[in-house]
């Protein structure tokens, strides 16, 4: 076997990020929490450098490291999104964590390593690399959720997340091993070739796919594997929830695409039915349970579950348009989630979490601008035009209609009407209820600007979604 020098350049962003992680780790180790602003700046810088590198290297692509690593348009776009999202997460979280004395070096180190895991996941082209990235990301997330160690709920959430997450990883690994047993391959492409060309035992192959789908379903939080999600979202400090809810979903999307569509594309008929069940259940259960919530974080958790269902709709369509729609949905979802958890962070202050829906009472009178932003976010999540959320729903439903799964589409849209109710309730509380307590905003102006920009981006994407649609379509063509 000839020794090939791997094309290191394809993994340059990850290597730079790893180097920066180590530097941040060293700084934290030597300065403790005295130089936390420096650590913050360094972390942002690391993400920025990674972002710039990915951006600079866009275009050329291919496989490297013995075909375990891939750089393609999909990985480029997802990496850019992950870096951008995490930069915003760090900016939004700063003040919240500082006030609660949670702003420690560990936070930054864990976030950076987790980001590294996500990038590896996005670029993985082999089951082992995929698993490596997934575990690097997940282990950091478990620790982050439990970071507020004096908080009972946060510890409980961390514990739950860890146990169920480990179970999910186990399922995924088991599925991978079955697939390996059948095909004798670990590489995504090699598996796809084996499935296409060889006479394989379909029963065992299907069994493997079942476990893979369960594992993916766990990571996404699709019903019936969603139990961890509301508890983690509610229990973790809001800043951590923000992190858990946004970028990891983008990475999970990569997991889904790499395993199911790139690796098992020919087995569409097998996994489509499973995804239909997951998607429909997620949309139904997520929307129905969200109605009963009084805690905004928990409500958003259930709304996430329903969004996951919609995202799966795009994938199960099995068409290129469907994958593009799912990608669009993922990116828009990350944008909206950032905005809505950002809004909770904006309103919370020392000794006040602003995580109950009631805490938004009268915001329309006190801070009309921020109330308007929250209104736009809620309508976007409900899928009302002219906001980005509408096009996300439109494109996945269009993909589903195009492959003649009309019944699924009808269930999805009817449930989105039910879903509209709980988003409207937030709007109602902000605008229609009279003021009781005055919600004060103590957040920094820069965060207010960033958050407004974030929301206006959702509005802008709603008015001119063409470019992003074209980009998503190009990736899967």
């Amino acid at each position: 076997m000839a020794f090939e020098v791997p094309n290191m350049l394809f993994a340059l962003p990850e290597m730079l990020l790893l180097a920066m992680c180590c530097i941040v780790l060293l700084v934290v180790a030597f300065t403790g929490n005295r130089q936390i602003n420096l650590v913050h700046a360094l972390s942002q810088l690391s993400l920025l450098i990674t972002f710039m590198t990915v951006f600079w290297m866009m275009g050329e692509g291919g496989l490297t490291f013995s075909e375990t690593y891939i750089k393609d348009p999909l990985s480029d776009v997802l990496k850019l999104a992950i870096c951008l999202v995490n930069m915003l997460v760090l900016s939004y979280s700063y003040r919240y964590l500082q006030v609660r004395k949670l702003l420690q070096g560990e936070f930054y180190v864990l976030v950076l390593f987790s980001t590294l895991g996500m990038l590896v996941m996005v670029s993985a082209h082999n089951f082992l690399t995929l698993y490596l990235g997934l575990e690097l990301m997940s282990l950091c997330l478990y620790a982050l959720v439990a970071m507020h160690r004096d908080s009972f709920t946060a510890t409980e959430a961390g514990m739950k997340y860890f146990i169920l997450g480990a179970l999910a990883s186990g399922m995924l690994l088991y599925g991978m091993s079955i697939i390996y047993g059948v095909t004798g391959e670990l590489g995504i492409e090699a598996i796809a070739t084996a499935i296409a060309n060889e006479e394989l035992n379909q029963t065992v192959l299907s069994l493997g796919i079942v476990f893979l789908v369960i594992g993916i379903g766990f990571k996404f939080g699709a019903v019936p594997f969603h139990m961890w999600l509301p508890d983690v979202y509610q229990g973790a400090p809001t800043a951590i929830t923000l992190f858990v809810a946004s970028a990891p979903k983008i990475a999970a999307f990569a997991l889904l695409i790499r395993i199911l569509t790139e690796g098992m594309g020919d087995m569409l008929s097998v996994w489509r039915d499973m995804l239909i069940m997951l998607a429909v259940l997620s949309i139904v259960v997520g929307n129905l349970l969200a109605i009963a919530q009084t805690n905004l974080k928990r409500m958003l958790a259930y709304s996430t579950i329903s969004h996951v269902g919609f995202l799966l709709l795009g994938v199960l369509a099995g068409s290129q348009a469907g994958f593009a729609a799912a990608l669009f949905y993922t990116l828009v979802y990350a944008l909206m989630t950032l905005g809505s958890f950002g809004m909770i962070l904006l309103l919370s202050r020392e000794g006040f979490e602003a995580e109950e829906i009631e805490d938004f009472k009268g915001l329309g009178q006190r801070h009309p601008w921020h109330a308007l932003m929250m209104l736009l976010l809620m309508f976007s999540m409900a899928g009302i035009p002219p906001l980005a959320g509408f096009y996300a729903k439109l494109s996945v439903i269009k993909a589903v209609v195009d492959v003649n799964l009309l019944a699924v589409a009808i269930v999805a849209v009817v449930m989105s009407v039910i879903g509209a109710y709980y988003y409207l309730r937030v709007v109602k509380v902000m605008f229609f209820d009279t003021l009781t307590e005055q919600p004060r905003i103590e957040a920094s102006t820069s965060m207010q600007y960033l958050l407004s920009g974030n929301v206006l981006a959702a509005l802008f994407l709603g008015l001119f979604p063409g470019a992003l649609f074209a980009l998503c379509a190009r990736i899967f063509s």
């Binding site: 329309g364 849209v413 009817v414």
Partner: protein, 506 residues
């Protein structure tokens, strides 16, 4: 004319104006003046549509067509024909009235109130001008947001219930529209509504699509039995909200049937015309009786709106029965034209009359803060000028010849005779029922003994209110006596529509 993007300006001007209004938070006077200027300019610009309109063709005019979302072949495609143009002018006039009506009454967050109405105006104009299905849907849905806020923020005591009910009802209807549009795009290969008109569909496909359209638009119109949101929304909405609801949003339902259901699914419309005709007749007769029983002024007018909109749907769908009766004579008879034009005139006329009725109730409510009929009595003694106008509008509502209310109803009833005697008979009962509930209301509110001290102390209308009501009275009278200017612009479009719906797609 082609180079001047009149439709885009009509849509964008109020929306941008509304955005600017949001900036002048505390300065109520400035906000009001700005709102008035924007709405008046928009209205004047919309008159250019009428002046520049070529009534000899059914082709879309003032067309603007740009690629918008290339991946899905969604376009920014605007244009008007004889159906949409009058409705757009109705929209711009109503908005001016709403701005004037809210001048003094709205003291709480006036700038946002005006802004909501201006943004809504732009979106409603967009609904009428859009020729791309997704663009239509976008305006159709986005319109709900400002109306939701208007009812929820400035409404009455039970406003939250009413506005959420309103939102969920209409949203529920419109998601089926979305599915139907996506399915049609799948068949036609583009989102252009005009391409949808030409796509061939089997009867089964047509029936499903038609039902989706019917659900979406029946909720908006609203038709019995999905009308229950309307009385709640009307009662709780501020006067301006009621005016816009009655004058325009209901018309969007009728317009949707004209633009989508009839031309895209003619065979399904024919197969299921009994359903729509039946529901329309129920609306006319049963809701007429319901209106008779109301003790709340706004509820009474709301129910009367549902009954009047029954004429619109009746007019649109008796066409198929007339065609069947005239099977021997090939071509388009007088009866079909009468039916469709009657429905259109009824929409426009009801827009003005309902607006006037709600403004009149607003005048009373601002003074007495109650809408209960029993709280009034003998208002004519203290408010003679107002009573004269209000009684005139009540007469118009009951379909008095010489007012616009008569023209549309009469045309539809006349056409109904060519379809089936009993349709016409049942529809004609509205002349009695309408007169009964309206005039009885007039008797109880305006005439008789002065009911209490508060009524005795009522101030007659000021010049602002006089201007509002008098201008509406003039419009109602003009359309009633001389409807030709309105009818002429729609002849070509009506003929074209009849051509489309009498040719089977199968």
């Amino acid at each position: 004319m082609m180079d001047f993007p009149l439709l885009s300006i009509l849509i964008l001007l109020p929306i941008i104006g509304g955005g600017l209004l949001l900036l002048c938070k505390q300065n109520h006077l400035l906000a009001r003046q700005l709102a008035l200027i924007v709405s008046v300019v928009t209205m004047l610009l919309s008159f250019l549509l009428y002046i520049g309109f070529d009534s000899t063709t059914h082709q879309m005019q003032f067309v603007e067509r740009l690629s918008w979302i290339a991946t899905f072949n969604i376009e920014y495609y605007l244009g008007v024909d004889g159906f949409s143009m009058p409705l757009m002018i109705l929209t711009t006039i109503s908005t001016v009235l709403v701005v004037i009506a809210g001048w003094q009454v709205i003291q709480d967050r006036a700038a946002q109130y005006m802004a909501a109405f201006l943004i809504m105006e732009g979106l409603m104009l967009g609904v009428f001008a859009a020729l791309d299905a997704i663009l239509f849907y976008l305006f159709f849905e986005a319109m709900l947001i400002p109306l939701f806020l208007v009812i929820g923020i400035w409404g009455g005591p039970n406003r939250v219930y009413a506005t959420i009910k309103f939102f969920l009802y209409t949203f529920f209807g419109s998601v089926f529209l979305l599915i139907a549009l996506l399915y049609l795009q799948f068949q036609a290969g583009s989102f252009s509504i005009l391409d949808f008109h030409d796509v061939s569909l089997t009867l089964t496909q047509q029936i499903w699509i038609f039902l989706a359209f019917l659900i979406a638009f029946a909720v908006k119109i609203p038709m019995w039995p999905v009308h229950t949101w309307l009385p709640d929304a009307h009662v709780e909405a501020p006067t301006g909200g009621s005016v816009i609801l009655a004058a325009i949003t209901l018309k969007i339902g009728g317009y949707g049937l004209l633009r989508f259901a009839l031309p895209i699914t003619p065979d399904a419309s024919m197969t299921l015309d009994w359903l729509v005709i039946g529901l329309s007749l129920i609306a006319i007769v049963y809701i007429g009786f319901v209106a008779l029983a109301q003790s709340d002024l706004k509820k009474l007018i709301a129910y009367s709106s549902i009954a009047h909109m029954g004429f619109v749907t009746l007019g649109l769908f008796i066409v198929f029965r007339i065609t069947a009766n005239e099977a021997i004579t090939i071509g388009i008879g007088n009866g079909q034209v009468l039916a469709i034009e009657g429905a259109m005139v009824q929409m426009i006329s009801h827009g003005f009359i309902a607006a006037a009725m709600f403004l009149s109730v607003g005048v009373l409510y601002d003074r007495m803060h109650t809408r209960e009929i029993s709280a009034y009595g003998g208002v004519a003694n203290s408010m003679p000028k107002f009573t004269a106008l209000a009684v005139f509008f009540a007469m118009a509502n009951a379909g008095l010849p010489g007012t616009s209310g008569f023209v549309g109803e009469f045309m539809v009833i006349l056409a109904a005779f060519q379809a089936n005697f009993w349709y016409a008979f049942l529809a004609a009962t509205t002349l009695i029922l309408g007169a009964a509930y309206t005039l009885w209301m007039v008797k109880r509110v305006f005439f008789g003994e002065i009911a209490n001290d508060e009524v005795a102390k009522l101030q007659d209308i000021n010049s602002r209110e006089m201007l509002l009501l008098a201008s509406l009275a003039v419009i109602v009278l003009v359309i009633g006596i001389w409807p030709d200017p309105l009818l002429n612009v729609m002849h070509a479009s009506v003929d074209n529509l009849l051509l489309q719906i009498t040719q089977s797609k199968l």
